[in-house]
């Protein structure tokens, strides 16, 4: 049994008693391995007595789960209405340029900081009232 099989088995065992355990399991797997790949899907399907198609259907439905790990740091920038009203579209170009290929800039629809946008998230750290300079700085420090 590989280390991955072992760990996924532990995660499944931890959540098995819950009502509707799949999402908590997927979150833990994503957190542990940075993705939920085909191998993990198969292991989870086996552990929960579901078909692989069922598990893949769920994994592919949600934006949070990724099929492949990406070792780059992620900066989530909110581009929903409230942040648009506060000018995020005017600074996103500079952000993407600063990110280059080193940082992954992804779009998120709303971090709940709508009165103080533009807003961004790196891990569990939030940033608000960003302008071009400060957003570029957030990306450079990511």
């Amino acid at each position: 049994m590989s280390a991955k099989e072992q760990r996924i088995g532990e995660i499944i065992a931890e959540h098995h008693g819950r009502e509707g355990p799949l999402l908590p399991i997927l979150h833990d797997v994503q957190h542990e391995f940075g993705c939920v790949d085909a191998e993990s899907e198969a292991l989870i399907a086996k552990g929960l007595n579901l078909s692989r198609a069922d598990v893949h259907g769920v994994v592919s439905f949600y934006h949070d789960f990724r099929p492949q790990a990406d070792s780059r740091p992620v900066v989530q920038v909110c581009r929903a209405e409230a942040c648009k009203a506060r000018g995020v579209e005017r600074i996103i170009g500079a952000a993407e340029k600063a990110a280059g290929t080193r940082v992954r800039v992804s779009t998120v629809y709303c971090l709940g900081l709508c009165s103080a946008g533009p807003a961004a998230r790196v891990g569990d750290r939030l940033h608000a009232r960003l302008d071009e300079t400060s957003l570029v700085k957030v990306i450079e420090n990511a």
Binding site: H27, V58, A82, Y109, C110, C114, S115, L126
Partner: protein, 516 residues
């Protein structure tokens, strides 16, 4: 020793409240981390003996301690923004430490639950019905009726599910409530459980709110003994906007794709795992402890107008000078909210449009600002209150681009179950693009001689494309299963109605801005 109070709300932390708190601690002050007052333009706000200083920076610590800071705003509770409000759901905002059981108890916490346990389920449902409380998630369905349905439904195991999947842009009241007063939500859920005979509760909280997840989990652990035998559990969403729709949320909670279910059966009868389930928004449940306290239902019913009773935590967001949380009785006009309370746009430019009710809400023109905040009044004006978010745009906004974004957002977030939403949204983006490009020429294939049936005319004019868009919106509005496809036409059609020049005239004259 000086006691300095600084919020530990996610918004304050995003603006450097943690660093500020550390700086005050370094100077020997005792720092208390409290909930946010909701005056977001002043965050991070420092409170010393009731007086406020904000927005404060680390450089100003000495000046603030010496009382000579220029950032002083006087006594916080007398600030016009706070003094004008009627805070019931957010009564503790700014005043208590979110996770302190002592603070919660001292401010009337658990009184509603204690009384609920004495009066029994029938009387609880009666009081909630009498208060006139309606679902604060958007649909505005009377909470008492929903609870009665679940109470009368047969079933061994029933559930209370709290919808905390606050995905609407321009809304943050759920986040602030969970981060600032988590026990109020837990108490509300326990009361609901007492009313309908449910022993388990789930809070479906979105993954974009890391602070709220952490705090609610801690609060549940600390209050477990108080609400027992009722058990609450946090479940974290996974980035799907549509899971804010209640049936989709239930599927997600069960570990399935977050696809919308057809109704009936109502979740009240066949909800989580096919069992009777109350699904309520955070603000609905958090309003309950106040209503169940002695005389609370009558007092709540006295507030508001017509069939919209009580108070609504309104969220002022977007390009607004004084943004934040403003809880007040129903009936306030948009003009008061945007101009008097909100102070107009932050950029200082004229207000062009206001979107009420999140991404699915209509764009209102300044000519419509006399509309009173009331569920029925908004419905009559082809708009919706939704979750009470107000997003202000200044005159640089391109409403054609915003309409396109509404369709694009719907296409990205559609669960895919029903055709009008899944395909209509994609077609909507294309039609809007064609309108903005000045219509559509016949393509090479259509003009080929073998295509006998294809018209060989000049193509479609923008007016014809607009007719197509109108027709598409009708189909989406009446043919979609849930509010995502059903309400996306509101922002699109309202933008088209009020700002047609953003779709046609200007779009031709200049290169269109990238819409995202």
């Amino acid at each position: 020793m000086t006691i300095v109070r600084i919020s530990d709300d996610a918004l304050a932390r995003a603006l450097g409240a943690d660093e500020l708190a550390a700086a005050f601690a370094n100077k020997g002050a005792t720092v208390e981390r409290v909930s946010s007052w909701g005056m977001h333009w002043l965050e991070p706000l420092v409170e010393i003996e009731g007086k406020g200083f904000g927005p404060a920076t680390v450089d100003e610590v000495d000046a603030i301690l010496a009382g000579s800071s220029e950032k002083a705003i006087g006594v916080i509770e007398q600030h016009p923004f706070i003094a004008r409000q009627q805070r019931l759901t957010f009564a503790r905002a700014g005043k208590t430490r979110p996770l302190s059981l002592e603070d919660y108890e001292n401010t009337g916490g658990w009184a509603g639950l204690r009384r609920a346990r004495q009066i029994g389920s029938e009387a609880i449902v009666e009081e909630v019905t009498q208060s006139g409380l309606r679902g604060r998630g958007g649909a505005g369905f009377p909470a008492g009726i929903k609870w009665r349905t679940v109470m009368n439904a047969p079933g061994e195991q029933k559930y209370i599910v709290c919808n905390a999947d606050e995905g609407d842009s321009g809304t943050f009241a759920d986040r602030m409530l969970i981060e600032g007063d988590p026990y109020a939500l837990i108490e509300g859920m326990a009361i609901a459980g007492e009313a309908v005979g449910a022993t388990r509760g789930y809070v479906y909280l979105r993954s974009e709110y890391p602070d709220a997840i952490r705090k609610l989990a801690a609060a549940i652990e600390r209050s477990a003994a108080i609400v027992a035998p009722f058990v609450v559990e946090v479940r974290v969403g996974a980035g799907a906007y549509v899971c804010g729709e209640e049936t989709s949320l239930l599927n997600s909670l069960e570990g399935k794709r977050g696809e919308v279910r057809a109704k009936p059966p109502l979740p009240a009868l066949e909800g989580f795992l096919g069992r009777p389930t109350v699904v309520n928004n955070v603000l609905t449940l958090a309003a309950v402890p106040h209503i169940l306290a002695e005389g609370g239902a009558g007092a709540y019913e006295q507030l508001g107008m017509a069939r919209s009773k009580g108070t609504m935590p309104i969220q002022l967001a977007g390009n607004i000078k004084y943004g934040g949380l403003f809880e007040t009785a129903f009936g306030i006009t948009l003009r008061e909210l945007v101009h008097e309370i909100g102070g107009g746009t932050e950029s200082g430019r004229p207000v062009k449009a206001v979107q009420v009710g999140g991404p699915l809400g209509a764009y209102l023109h300044p000519d419509e600002f006399d509309i009173a905040f009331d569920y029925e009044a908004y419905t009559a004006a082809d708009a919706l209150i939704g979750h009470g978010g107000i997003t202000v745009f200044d005159d640089t906004a391109d409403m054609g681009a915003m309409a396109r974004f509404a369709m694009e957002f719907c296409a990205a977030e559609s669960c895919g179950k029903c055709t009008p939403c899944r395909i209509g949204a994609v077609r909507g983006v294309e039609v809007i693009d064609r309108i903005r490009a000045g219509g559509r020429k016949r393509d090479v294939i259509e003009l080929a001689p073998v295509m006998h049936n294809a018209p060989k005319d000049e193509g479609r004019l923008p007016e014809q494309e607009i007719a197509l868009l109108t027709d598409l919106c009708e189909t989406m509005k009446f043919g979609s299963l849930c509010a995502l496809g059903g309400f996306t036409p509101y922002p699109v059609m309202s933008a088209l109605k009020h700002w047609p020049e953003d779709f046609t005239g200007k779009a031709v004259a200049r290169t269109p801005e990238p819409a995202e």
